[in-house]
């Protein structure tokens, strides 16, 4: 690398992109004050970075949003490998010497695989008590325990309480699996890959990431609209994206 004009001081690393990518003017990232986002290029790849202060903790809501924002902006126009939140390296020279040079070919190949794709994440929540009512109607044992426990305290000292909750939880889990299959059936034809995610809250119905080719995006979005309409009385669907392909960056060899 001639010039050696690399940023000094700690650098926050958002992700890796192709060296042909550009940063929209005025894009700022994490930290206070927010650092200006620049590219550090080597060969076919580039690190997306901004200067950050080492004596300042990271992780405020603004930092989290800035990380996702920078990657969303960069992924609009180019192939991007997002880093998990919180990667900071000593300085620009270290990023080139320890990350870009030794892992150039691996990262370039991963970027090529993702070329032309964007991630969309679909999340659905059961509306009100729709899912619980479905469970109750379908599971005689749940109904029986419910009657048994009527008017009694629901607590950890009652076997029936735990048993009732456990039955409901496992029935909900099966319901989620069935609904995930419906989601996959509706959207997979318009996606290159999918990655289901574990539910993170009790009323979560479906949660899955899809890798979508840019030209398939209209068909994908339309299929999502149609499914949301179909599910309108049971599940409220949300579509996030286009996003950087967080769920499809995989674990590359180190």
């Amino acid at each position: 690398m001639p010039g050696g004009d690399w940023p000094s001081g700690p650098q926050y690393l958002y992700g890796i992109t192709t060296s042909s990518a550009g940063v929209p003017p005025g894009l700022h990232g994490t930290g206070h004050p927010a650092g200006r986002v620049v590219l550090l290029r080597h060969g076919a790849i580039a690190a997306i970075i901004s200067s950050v202060r080492a004596d300042q903790p990271l992780g405020t809501p603004a930092d989290a949003r800035a990380h996702a924002h920078v990657l969303a902006v960069m992924a609009e126009a180019a192939s991007v490998l997002p880093m998990r939140f919180g990667a900071v390296m000593t300085d620009g020279a270290a990023i080139v010497a320890e990350l870009l040079i030794p892992h150039h070919d691996t990262l370039a190949a991963a970027l090529a695989r993702l070329d032309g794709h964007q991630q969309f994440t679909i999340k659905g929540k059961y509306i009100g008590q729709a899912a619980l009512r479905e469970v109750l109607a379908a599971e005689p044992e749940v109904m029986r325990l419910r009657r048994l426990l009527a008017g009694r305290e629901i607590d950890a000292y009652s076997r029936e309480s735990i048993r009732l909750g456990e039955l409901v939880a496992s029935a909900l889990e099966r319901k989620r699996m069935a609904d995930l299959q419906i989601l996959v059936g509706a959207l997979q034809p318009h996606a290159a890959a999918l990655a289901p995610r574990a539910p993170s809250a009790a009323d979560d119905a479906v949660d899955a990431a899809f890798l979508v080719l840019r030209r398939q995006r209209p068909a994908f979005e339309q299929a999502a609209e149609e499914l949301a309409r179909h599910w309108r009385s049971r599940i409220r669907l949300r579509l996030l994206g286009p996003l950087a392909p967080y769920d499809f960056s995989g674990t590359l060899p180190g």
Binding site: A34, R133, L164
Partner: protein
């Protein structure tokens, strides 16, 4: 967000927004955290020497789904449901999935399903590593 001088404009949707599909913009903080804390490349597998150990104020956005507390929450919700005189009919197809005569699930059943689907433990583990 005051930290981002460049205002990101998502491209116009190809279809008019429907009343059914939510397109949150910007995403909720919870959505953002689930994305950036759980997924993406972990820097530690590439670089070991020049990592700067900046203190991370990250929070765990995930709630453990299968636990006694959750069971009790479900049990309370189900016992509080107000049922109309006639039991509600299931929307088409769902009843076939949940077999009424099926063996009661083993205590670990829902945890097993969760692990298969999401591999929660590795994600949490690497986050701990990252925070050190």
């Amino acid at each position: 967000m005051s930290t981002t001088q460049y205002e990101y404009q998502p491209p116009a949707h190809y279809y008019p927004p429907s009343p059914y599909l939510g397109r949150p913009s910007p995403s909720s903080l919870r959505d953002v955290l689930e994305l950036i804390l759980d997924k993406g490349l972990v820097i530690d597998i590439f670089v070991r020497v020049s990592l700067v150990g900046i203190e991370l104020l990250t929070i765990d956005a995930r709630i453990v789904v299968a636990s006694v507390d959750t069971y009790l929450k479900f049990a309370r919700e189900v016992s509080r449901l107000d049922l109309p005189r006639a039991e509600p009919r299931l929307p088409g197809g769902v009843g076939q999935v949940i077999q009424a005569a099926e063996e009661p699930a083993a205590p670990g059943a829902s945890q097993g399903g969760q692990g298969k689907q999401g591999e929660q433990a590795p994600a949490q583990q690497s986050r701990r590593e990252q925070a050190t």
